[in-house]
């Protein structure tokens, strides 16, 4: 890849920091996060994203208590309406959106589905984060041959288009389940997180404050964990919000391809969408609702993540 061509950057930085030293005083001094927040507060894109995500999280928390019906069990009155010609009970009184093809209340499923969707998104992201952090820390923290070895593996992983890899991983498991979906999506995020973390760890590695800690005689492990890691997490966290959106969409894609969780009693939007494709022609609504939910939530996380990324990017902080 291209190298960063920062000729004379050192000097430029020196001058920048000179300017900064002059402008950042004690009462005006704000941390990166604080200043990012200041900008974000006024960013409509971020605010829309934040609102969506908050609502979504809120719904995920309260859904089981407010859902009118048990989403995992068929409602007899809906179930009795199911026949080969009408496998999907239509909207009716008491059932705002009707039922699904197992006679469960669709509205309740959508509500409660937010929870599982969030779990899939969060766990997949956390999994990817954990793996990425492990590899990234190994590579960036230890460096040397470890760095090369880990990075070669990461490069190979990166050279396989991510969704393809997710398919392969999901297909590897004899018994697809929610966990295989989470695992597959987590694994494809690993190289991204690893690279990201390693990149910022490396720049930390050569930064003055790490050098200072070294000069101070701080133990190497402490340098990695107390100084390098905490300071490298910024971009990783931002990436995390974006990955959450991607994870939700990817989970839907896996379900769509039949590699999702086949046990559909606990509702999850991606899985609901995947299951609904058989009915898409005749009963599009049961696909459209989860699809819209996914779109809105993914949009929420994406809006938030992108604006966060932009706000934290020192290059755009002018």
């Amino acid at each position: 890849m291209a190298t960063d061509t920062t000729f004379g950057q050192r000097k430029k930085d020196r001058i920048d920091s000179l300017a900064e030293a002059g402008t950042l005083s004690k009462d005006e001094g704000v941390s990166l996060l604080q200043s990012a927040w200041r900008r974000l507060r006024r960013d409509p894109v971020f605010l829309i994203g934040l609102t969506i995500v908050s609502v979504f999280v809120l719904v995920a928390i309260i859904a089981p208590f407010v859902a009118p019906f048990d989403p995992t069990k068929a409602v007899p009155e809906l179930r009795s309406q199911i026949s080969p010609a009408t496998p999907i009970p239509p909207a009716q009184e008491g059932h705002l959106l009707g039922g699904d093809n197992a006679g469960r209340d669709l509205f309740s499923r959508l509500l409660v589905g937010s929870r599982q969707t969030l779990i899939v998104g969060v766990l997949a992201t956390l999994g990817g984060l954990a793996g990425g952090m492990l590899l990234g820390t190994l590579a960036g923290g230890i460096g040397g041959w470890m760095d090369s070895a880990v990075m070669r593996v990461v490069d190979v992983m990166l050279s396989i288009p991510s969704l393809l890899m997710a398919f392969s991983i999901a297909a590897m498991f004899a018994r697809p389940s929610q966990w295989t979906v989470i695992l597959a999506i987590a694994i494809i995020q690993v190289p991204i997180f690893a690279r990201l973390l390693r990149g910022s760890m490396l720049s930390q590695r050569h930064s003055d404050h790490v050098l200072a800690a070294r000069a101070l005689g701080v133990k190497p492990a402490a340098i990695v964990f107390r100084h390098m890691l905490p300071n490298s997490l910024g971009p990783v966290i931002v990436q995390g919000t974006l990955v959450l959106a991607v994870a939700i969409i990817d989970a839907a894609a896996l379900s769509f391809l039949g590699l999702g969780n086949p046990d559909d009693s606990v509702p999850e939007w991606g899985q609901m969408l995947g299951a609904a494709q058989r009915f898409f022609n005749t009963f599009p609504h049961i696909a459209v609702y989860p699809a819209i939910c996914i779109i809105v939530v993914a949009l929420g996380f994406t809006l938030m993540g992108e604006s966060l990324r932009e706000a934290l990017d020192p290059k755009s902080r002018r």
Binding site: T5, G8, K11, K12, I15, G22, T23, S25, K26
Partner: protein
């Protein structure tokens, strides 16, 4: 060289630049700056970081961002008010009548366009030259600013040049249309001392040779001492002292000027002299509207300083034509700045 000369090339009159959009706190970066520049004259703008030097120069060139700032006052170039020109007319002037050199030579050159194009485009734009002649002229220009092997350099990219050469190339571009006014905004800050010396020598030679008016912006008093005819010392967006360079360095009248001079170690100082820093930092400033912004850091501040805004007036205590903005200037005789008091500030800034 009186600043009131009517034949001045550039007259900056009560220039005021305010940043800040709705909701945000307004911030006046340049606060009523006036000065003039005559052909062949070099005027220096000095002051510490953030005092408004660059903003002044950008305002003159009308290169400030379109939004987020308000510029008032007037800038008259050869008798014409630049602020009343249309964008197109201003564009015609820039590069032809007024040119500018910036501080970082690498980032000021487009990295993906060959040097030659970057030089010839000005010629083509303003002189209506065809490619061929423009190229020839560009070669001459590079040669003139002391770039060896100019033909080869024309087809090279900025990163292939050394720092000094890049700065020379920038100068060549600025000089391409023989502008009548050249603004150099810290042109040597990014360079090493030996190279800085080369560039300064080049600028000096240019002014002498072609009679171009030069505005030299820097925070390095040493640079000003060697180059400028007249020096404006800026503090907090206002000129606090203006004098001919010999006068200024010999008898600094404003405590800030004095403080600056006293805090710089000099090669020809006797060793062991304790430096007398200007205490505090820019952050300690108070607004100009009801006081002297420098008062919190000033070692000779009197009560008036904190209640009455000083004006920029002719300083009668010295024989030279000097303007000063101070209630309690430094004495004329003691050419050294007073030693800093132990803790002159009321802020948490320790010293």
């Amino acid at each position: 060289m009186s600043s009131a000369t009517t034949g001045a090339l550039l007259e900056v009159e009560d220039l005021r630049v305010t940043f800040g959009q709705k909701g945000k706190r307004q911030f006046t970066a340049v606060d009523g700056v006036s000065f003039t520049v005559n052909p062949g004259e070099t005027v220096g703008l000095v002051g510490e970081s953030g005092c408004g030097k660059s903003v002044t120069s950008l305002a003159i060139m009308r290169l400030l961002p379109n939004r987020g700032n308000t510029v008032t006052g007037s800038v008259r170039f050869a008798g014409q008010d630049l602020f009343s020109l249309s964008d197109g007319e201003m564009r015609d002037r820039r590069g032809r009548d007024l040119a500018m050199i910036f501080q970082d030579p690498l980032s000021s050159l487009n990295p993906v366009v060959p040097l030659g194009t970057q030089v010839t485009e000005v010629l083509q734009r303003h002189k209506g030259m065809k490619r061929g002649p423009a190229k020839t002229r560009a070669t001459e220009l590079l040669d003139k600013v002391g770039i060896p092997d100019p033909t080869r350099r024309l087809s090279e990219y900025p990163h292939q040049l050394s720092g000094g050469m890049r700065q020379r190339a920038l100068i060549a571009m600025a000089l391409a249309c023989e502008p009548r006014l050249l603004i150099a905004d810290e042109p040597t800050t990014a360079l090493d001392v030996t190279i800085q010396a080369q560039i300064l020598a080049l600028l000096r030679e240019l002014v002498v040779d072609s009679g171009t008016a030069l505005i030299m912006i820097t925070h390095d008093l040493g640079v000003v001492a060697g180059l400028c005819d007249e020096v404006n010392v800026l503090y907090g967006g206002r000129i606090v002292e203006r004098a001919q360079r010999h006068d200024l360095f010999k008898v600094p009248r404003h405590p800030y000027t004095g403080g600056l001079l006293a805090s710089i170690p000099r090669l020809d100082d006797p060793r062991g002299r304790r430096l007398s820093p200007v205490p505090g930092s820019v952050a300690d400033n108070i607004p100009w509207d009801s006081a002297c912004a420098f008062a919190p850091r000033c070692s000779s501040a009197i009560d008036t300083c904190r209640t009455v805004t000083p004006d920029l007036v002719a300083d009668d205590a010295v024989p030279d034509a000097r303007l000063l903005r101070c209630h309690n200037p430094l004495p004329v005789d003691g050419s050294q700045a007073p030693t800093a008091p132990a803790d002159p500030t009321t802020t948490t800034e320790a010293s």
